[in-house]
Amino acid sequence: MRAYLALFRSNMRLTARDRGVLFFNYLFPLIFFFAFAEMFHASTGQGIAYFVGTVLTMGILGNGLWGAGMRSVQDREANILRRFKVTPISPLPILIASMASGLLLYLPVIALIAGLAHVIYAMPLPQHWISLVLMASLGVCAFRAIGSILAAVTNTMAEANILIQLLYMPMLFLSGTTIPSSVLPTWAQTVAEFMPATYLVTGFQGIFFRNQSLLGNLDNVVAVGALLLTTVLGLFLAVKLFRWEKEEKIAPRNRLWVAGVLAPFLIMGCWRSYTKEHIGQNEAIMRDLARSGTFLIRNTRIFLGDGTVKENGTVLVHDGKIVDVFDGAGPDAGKLRADVIEGSGKTLLPGLIDVHVHVSSPGGVWDSSDDYQVDKAIARDDAALLYSGITAARSTGDGLDASLKLRGLIEKGNKLGAQLFVCGPMFTAEGGHGTEFVQYAPKFVQDQVREQLVRIPKTAEEARQQVDDLKKRGVDGIKAILESGFGQSMLYTRMDVGLFQAVAGEARAQNLPLAVHTGDSRDVTDAVDAGAASVEHGSWRDSIPDAVLAKMAHDGIYLDPTLAVAQAYSQYFAGKADALDNSLVQQTVTTNLLTATRNFVSAGKGVDPAKAAIFAKAFAQSKENLLRAWKAGVPLAMGTDAGNPLVFPGPSMHQELKLWVEAGIPAAVALQAATANGAKLLRQGDHIGGIRKGMDANLLLVDGNPLQDIGATERISLVVFKGERLDRPGLFDQK
C-alpha cells in the first residue's frame, strides 16, 4: 500500500509540473467548450447540456490515450522504468498509481466544465451527479487501461504515436465528441457503435441533457459494464505484457491484444449493428436539442384555441413548451436569452389536429403497387402532415405494427412527423367495409394484411378480447365501422349491432375513445347509443335526426364530418383532378405519384357517373348535417380521411377547413374544431391544441388572417413542433 501511495504522490507531482499534461486535460477541452458554446447557441437553448458531455469525453480521450499511453512509453524509452525493475515491486502498483493519478487529475475538469456551463450558460447542474462522477471515472479508468495496452504493445515512441492516433482520431471525429453524430453518414454512425468514446458521449448526454441516472437506463448500464470490463481486461493484460526496458522488444502480433481490450465494445458494436436498434438514436438526441431552444414569436395575432383571439400578442417558447403568452411585444428577448421571430401580419395557431387519417395509403393512385413499402409510405405521409402544419393526427385504421412503430419513432424523436394517435385495425364484419382493402393486397400476404388492418369478431366475448389485446399492444383508441354501403355496387355487410356494442362497451371499460365510421343516420344512432367518442363521417345518405344530434350534444359525442373525402370521391369518379393543382399538394406529394394520379384520373380510368352522383349527394348531405350539428351544439372535431384517392395527408386538412367555411361554419369554429376540440377528443386537451402556458409548443404561423380568409392557413410561414422550429423542406426527400 505504501508503494501505491508513494508512486501515486510522485505521479501527481510530476503531472503538476508538466505543462503538456495540463494543456491536454484542462485547456484543450476549454477551447472546445467555448467553441461549441458558440456553435450550439448555448445562450438560447439547451445546447450546452448536449455538448458538455462531448467536451468531457474529449478530456478523457486525451487523459487516457496520451496521458497513460504515451507517458508510459516515454518512461520506458528513457529507461526510467528500468530503475524500478531492480526494486521489489510488480508492474501493478505502477499501473494502478498511474490510473489513480490520471483520475484525480481529471475530476476537477468535470467541476470546471459543469461549473462554467452553469455560471455562463445557465445550464442546470445535473441531478444525478454521482452517476456523472461514476461515468467519468469509469471512462478515465477504461481509457487509461487502453492507453496502457497501447504502451505495452509498441516498441518505440513513433509506433506508439501511430497506434494512439489510429484510435484517438476516429474516436474524436466519429463518436460524436467533436462532430455531432447525427450529421454523420449512417456507416460512420455504425462504425461509432464500436468505439468506447461513443458510449461515453451518449452516457454524458443522458446525464446532463435527459437527466438520466446511470443505472436507470439500460443502455448506460451496459456501457458501464463494458467500461468496467475494459478496465479490468486492460489492467490484466498491461501487467502481463509490461516491459521495464526499451531493450526488451515485443512482437508485432501482440498488438492484437488491443482488440482484446476493446472486445466488450466490439461485441456491443456487433450487437447494435445486428439489431439496428440504436440507429437514429443520435438523431433523437439532436432532436431534443433542437427542441430545447428559447424564442419569442412576437407582435402577432394569436388564435388561442379556446375560441378567443389575441389581436397582438407574443408567445414565449422554451424547452419544447409554451412558457407564457403576453399582450403586445412581450418581454425583453435579450434578458430571456431568447431568439425572436417577428410575427407582424401573421396569425399564430395551435398546430392543427387531423382526427381521421389513414397514413399507410398515399392519397394518390400508383402506377404499380411494387413501389409501395408500408414503413416508408407512412413515414412520408406523416412527415407531409407535419409539413402542412398538422402536428397531431389520429390514425383511424392502419396496419397495427407499422403505425405503432412509427408512433414510437416519432415519440422518441428518431423521426419527424405529426404526433400519431393509433387505432390500428378496424372492427368490422366479414364482407364489411374495411375488408375490401385486404382484397387489394396480393394473395400471399392477405392473411397478414387482414391481421394488421381489420378485426372481425364472431362473438361478443371475442370482440372484448380483441379490444383488450389491442389495449395491451398500446393503441390510443378503437375504430369500428357501421356501414351498409351505397347504390348498386358499393354494398357492405354491416357489423352486427350486438358485436358492435360489445366492442363499444369494452373500449369504454378500457378507457379507449371509440371512433365509429357511420354511413347513414341508423349507423349514427347506433354509434351514439353505444357511447362512441366520435361519429366519423356522420350520415352521407340522410339527415341525422334532431334527437340524435341533441343526444350527441348532451353526451359530448363529437361529429367529424370529413367533408374532404366526400368531395374528393365526387371529383375522382367524375374524372376531375383539380385537387392536384393545389400548391400544398404539389409541395407534399412526390412527383411520381402526382403524375401517376393525374394521368389516371384525367384519362378517365376512375370515371363512374353513378358513383360521382352518389358522392356529390353525400358531400352536400354531410355539409348540411355539419351545419345542423353545429347549430344543435354538437361538439365538432376535424378529420379528413386522408389516404383516400385525392385526399392527401396534410393539404386535405386545409381543404377541410375551407369546406367547413363553405358549408356555413364560422372560421373560428372550424379552427377550434381543427385544434382544441381535436385535442379533447384525443384526450390531450391539457397538452396540445391550444396556446397557453405549459402546453406543448406545437404552433402554426401563417401569413394573413385565416379568421377572415380561411385559405390563409395554407400560406405557412413557420411550423413549430414540440419547440423545434422545423426546417420544413428537410422533413422528407424532395424527390
Partner: protein, 307 residues
C-alpha cells in the same frame, strides 16, 4: 556457512548468441569483488542475472541464499543495485526520488542521514535534470543504499565521471567496504579494480580468464619486472655478465644505462649492484618497473581495455 554470492557454471544466451559461457566465482562476506573486462565481455549480463533482472540459461546461482530466478522479489528487497546508467524523471526532486524508492522496500535507512552522507542534502530540492553527473551517480548510489543492503551490486559505478567525481565514488565504496558490506562491482578501469577490489575476476568473451587478488594476477602473468640502472660512467667495453634470472640485457649507445628484464628482480638487482660496485662504477639511479594489471590484462586477453 555459504558465501553471500555464489556462481557456478553460469550461462546466458540471447538467441544464438552466447554472452556468458560458464562462469564460476563466489564473493565472500565483506569482500569487494571486481569483474574486470572490456565492453561486451558479459560483466553486466552476469550482474543482472544475480540482481534478478534476467533469467539465466544455465548454471547455479545464489545470492544471500536466494535463487535470483525464483525468489526474485525477496532478493530484490535485500540487495542494493546501482545500474550502469540510472535515469529518473527530469522534474523529480532528489528527496522525492528517495521517498518514492524507499516506499518500495520493507526496510529503510534514515534518509536524511543517507542524503547527508552522499552530500546530497543541499541538493534535496533540486530537480533530477539539474544535477551534475557526479551528483546523479551519488543519487543512484543513495537509491542502492535505501534498504540498508548487505550485498551491493555496482555496475560501472564511476563510468563517464570526471576524475574528481570518480574519487568521491571510490571513497564511498571504500567506506561501504569498511562497513563490512559485500560488494560486487564491474569496471573496465584497471586502477579502479586495483584500488577498490579485494579480488578481481578478469572476464573476456563470456569467460573468466583470471581470478585472484590484483597482486596474484599480476604475478601470475608471464610479464616480468624491468630493471634500469643509470651509471655515472660508461660501462667498460665487453659483454655484460649473465645475471641470475635476468634476460634481455641491454646497454644504450653511451653505455651508461643498463636495462634487464627479470623474473626475480630483487635477486637480480643485488647481483647487478655487486658487479657495478666491483667494476668501480657509481650508480646514478635505479628504476624498477613492475608489470601493471593492465599489462597483465593485455597479456591475458591480447586486447586493450579502452578500445
Amino acid at each position: 556457512m555459504s558465501n553471500p554470492i555464489e556462481v557456478d557454471g553460469l550461462k546466458k544466451s540471447y538467441g544464438g548468441l552466447e554472452a556468458v559461457k560458464g562462469v564460476d566465482f563466489e564473493v565472500c562476506a565483506g569482500e569487494v569483488f571486481g569483474l574486470l573486462g572490456p565492453n561486451g565481455a558479459g560483466k553486466t549480463t552476469t550482474v543482472e542475472i544475480l540482481e534478478g533482472l534476467r533469467p539465466r540459461s544455465g548454471g547455479r546461482v545464489s545470492v544471500l541464499g536466494c535463487d535470483p530466478g525464483v525468489q526474485t522479489r525477496e532478493l530484490k528487497d535485500r540487495v542494493g543495485v546501482c545500474l550502469q546508467s540510472t535515469r529518473l524523471q527530469d522534474k523529480l526532486k532528489v528527496k522525492e526520488a528517495i521517498e518514492v524508492f524507499a516506499a518500495l522496500y520493507t526496510r529503510n535507512v534514515d534518509t536524511t542521514q543517507l542524503l547527508k552522507r552522499l552530500q546530497l542534502w543541499e541538493k534535496r530540492e533540486a530537480h533530477y535534470s539539474t544535477l551534475s553527473g557526479g551528483q546523479k551517480q551519488r543519487l543512484a548510489l543513495a537509491l542502492a543504499l535505501l534498504n540498508d543492503p548487505q550485498v551491493l551490486f555496482l555496475d560501472e559505478p564511476s563510468s563517464g565521471l570526471d576524475p574528481q567525481a570518480r574519487l568521491e565514488i571510490h571513497q564511498l565504496v571504500q567506506d561501504l567496504r569498511a562497513e563490512k558490506r559485500t560488494i560486487l562491482l564491474t569496471t573496465h578501469y584497471i586502477e579502479e579494480a586495483e584500488k577498490l577490489c579485494d579480488r578481481v575476476a578478469i572476464v573476456d568473451e563470456g569467460r573468466i580468464i583470471a581470478l585472484g587478488t590484483p597482486r596474484e594476477i599480476q604475478e601470475r602473468t608471464l610479464a616480468n619486472s624491468t630493471i634500469e640502472i643509470d651509471c655515472e660512467l660508461p660501462v667498460p667495453a665487453g659483454d655484460l655478465p649473465a645475471w641470475q634470472h635476468a634476460d634481455k640485457i641491454s646497454l644504450d649507445e653511451r653505455r651508461t644505462k643498463i636495462s634487464v628484464v627479470s623474473t626475480r628482480p630483487a635477486r637480480t638487482i643485488v647481483e647487478m649492484v655487486k658487479w657495478l660496485d666491483e667494476a668501480g662504477i657509481e650508480l646514478a639511479d635505479i628504476h624498477i618497473k613492475r608489470p601493471s594489471l593492465e599489462e597483465a590484462f593485455i597479456e591475458l586477453t591480447g586486447k586493450s581495455l579502452r578500445e
